[in-house]
Amino acid sequence: MLPRVAIVGIGFSSFRSITPDISFKEMMFEAATRAYEDAGVCPQQDIDGFVTCEEDFAHGRSIFSIHTPDNLGAVLKPIHTIPGDGIYGLAAGYMQISTGLMSIVAVESHSKASNMLTPNYLIAHALDPVYNKPLGYNPYFIAGMEMNRYLFETGTTKEQCALVAVKNKLNALLNPQAVYGERITADEVLGSEMMFYPLSRLDMSSPADGGIVMVLASEEKAKALTDKPIWIRGIGWCSDTPGLETREGGEAVYAHLAGDMAYKMADIKHPRKEIDFVEIDDTFSYKELQHLEALKLCRRGEAGALVEEGATQRDGEFPVNVSGGSLGVGHLVEATGLQRVLEVVLQLRGEAGKRQLSNVKVGLAQSWRGIPTNSGAAIILSRE
């Protein structure tokens, strides 16, 4: 039996489209102080380990770990970076605590996407230098190709994808942290500029800045620190083939396998029945549908109908991305996964304000590392 680990503290620095008033260090500090206050811990005395999740070029700083310890109170402490999404960081913290070596671990990730002036080039720089880079295309062609294949294989329509954007932006209106909340119609999404057929402008999330810190604790410490620990019941992560040429066009295999790993750990046999709500990756509108299917929350090809019926709305039978998702909140780069976990924690604690769901006990958050990757993670959290 694996040891139990809980999230006992959350903190964030407000999500905004730009943040010219603070440096990334000040952003990390702000999120960390709030998380430590929430958890009731002092970093130097109580926290055994720290994990930060960043990619070098996204920030324009190689070896990002250089710039991390001071901002988290982690000087002369075990701290390391994971160039990956925040949920990978939670997995690292989970494992460190499970070894018995550590009792409390803080996990951080943030976005300063606004500071990156050539974002298309950034993603293009992640392509295979021999087979893909020399073509010189805007890398979002990958999303267009994948969406096209997904629609082809599953019979999902562009209208159904548009409804995801409509729903998530509407949800975002009730989330004070969301940057891109608005009331729009499916026609507006469908009528927005065609970018990479069949992907239109409003099918794509826009970037945001913001920082998040979470404090994890062992069962013993968690019970001592808080009345409302949110338990990590399962966690999984997976990388499928990185080649653009060898990947399954329409299927998110990485999400399927990451989900399976998390379900197995959580002993969940029927995800849709045993999970009350989910926060899953919607970097592009179709991704939410593709991920719903990969995570076995509906059958293949059924996610479009689900959103059409309204089942995934905030007041539907299976709410998806109540926070507003990346389409509504803004895409927080590597902190995106933590933003999803943040929402799940707030909902499970009953602290989600106007968008609070009633009677939720188990939630799932999932992340994808974005184009051109074929990697992602999932985490299942519960009140019990």
């Binding site: 070098d56 190689s62 770990s65 991390t68 310890p69 390391h80 990697s375």
Partner: protein
């Protein structure tokens, strides 16, 4: 706490520039590591990748690009990163994957293809420093080492001549390493007379830039005992970062290495490292760094490492063989891969399989260490049989 062993290791040659892509290097090392313990990719539960800044391989999110070569196809795959300390850290990270109980086996791969970075791999470092207060000065990587070496010599009255002995020893040790890039028999005078790059650092004080990959296979106790006659146990792990503000630290002593070492020694139950450790692989990107790190690893007192070197204690036949592999100075410095090379070297040494490099007297316990970031990271692993 679950016991975790290293059961296999593999590596490529370290070269200035390789024909192989980073993926291919990763596969070559990983395949050799798996073959060495007769495991297949199906037996691998998870993969950990160690590779230093993306500015070397010049690919954003390079671990994603490298993943298939590292054997991560449809597996849990995570990259760990603490700059130059990454190579030993990923062994620690692989340890926590298995020790957590989540996985029974873990393939740990470290890769670096520095030759991709032009006009020179050293240029990658200007993107590391604080771009507000440091990089605008045209800051070179060598400045940092020169400052530290100068401070270290000044604090203890150590001479360049005493330090040069480390380069002589390690390059000679590397003569017996089949993967070595800069093995050579040189003299102290060769080092002292080599061209000044950033005084007190001279050309032969410095390790080269390299392409290469190294992999090890980790297994939980019940698996290790089944598949291996000679598992090498991970007895202690430690990692630590000091403040990012270099002007707030005294460079004469790497206290972050000491903190990481104490963490690892505590876990391993080691009270007197200088007596209990039989063999050491401290990180030696520069010759003085080996001395600096021996002190940080508490293998001798502050300022004493130069004397131990002069007395031959750190020779392969000495009482405390240090960098018997040939280290970064001799084998080459493919950053993350070099750190893991040191762990692989201990694995081979403790199993008595190091061939011509074998340290006599059946060593039982070894420590490997890497260093990184802005003179700031210590990563440590203690292995034993």
């Amino acid at each position: 706490m679950r016991k975790v062993a290293i059961v296999g290791a593999g590596m490529t040659k370290f070269v200035r520039r390789s024909l192989e892509t980073g993926k291919e290097l990763s596969w070559q090392a990983a395949k050799m590591a798996l073959d060495s313990c007769q495991l297949t990719l199906d037996d691998v539960d998870c993969v950990v990748m160690g590779t230093a800044p993306d500015a070397f391989d010049m690919i954003h999110m390079k671990a994603e690009y490298l993943s298939d070569g590292a054997g991560a196809w449809r597996k849990p795959y995570m990259r760990g990163f603490v700059g130059g300390g990454t190579g030993v850290f990923v062994a620690d990270q692989g340890w926590y994957h298995v020790a957590s109980g989540l996985f029974d086996t873990c393939l740990v791969v470290a890769e670096e293809k520095m030759s991709c970075c032009l006009p020179h791999p050293q240029g990658a470092f200007i993107t590391c420093w604080d771009q507000f207060t440091e990089s605008p000065l045209g800051t070179s990587l060598l400045w940092f080492f020169a400052w530290e070496m100068n401070r270290y010599m000044n604090a203890h009255g150590i001479t360049e001549r005493e330090i040069a002995l480390v380069a002589v020893k390690n390059k000679k040790n590397a003569m017996n390493h089949p993967c070595a890039q800069l093995a050579a028999e040189i003299t102290v005078d060769d080092v002292l007379n080599s061209e000044i790059m950033a005084w007190p650092v001279k050309r032969l004080d410095v390790s080269p830039t390299s392409d290469g990959a190294v992999a090890i296979v980790l297994a939980a106790e019940h698996v290790a005992k089944r598949i291996s006659d000679k598992p090498v146990w991970i007895e202690g792990v430690g990692w630590c970062l000091d403040t990012m503000y270099i002007g707030q630290r005294d460079l004469y002593y790497p206290r972050y290495v000491e903190y990481a070492a104490r963490m690892a020694y505590n876990m391993a139950g080691i009270k007197e490292p200088s007596k209990e450790i039989n063999i050491a692989e401290p990180y030696d990107p520069f010759d003085y760094k080996e001395l600096h790190h021996m002190e940080g690893l508490l293998l001798c007192g502050k300022g004493e490492a130069a004397r131990l070197t002069a007395d031959g204690v750190t020779q392969r036949t000495g009482n405390l063989p240090t960098c018997p592999s040939g280290g970064a100075l001799g084998v080459g410095n493919a950053i993350a891969a070099t750190g893991l090379m040191k762990v692989a070297e201990l694995f081979w040494q403790l199993r008595g399989e190091a061939g011509k490099r074998q340290v006599p007297g059946k060593p039982k316990k070894g420590v490997a260490q890497a260093w990184g970031d802005e003179m700031q990271v210590g990563t440590v692993i203690v292995l034993g049989v």
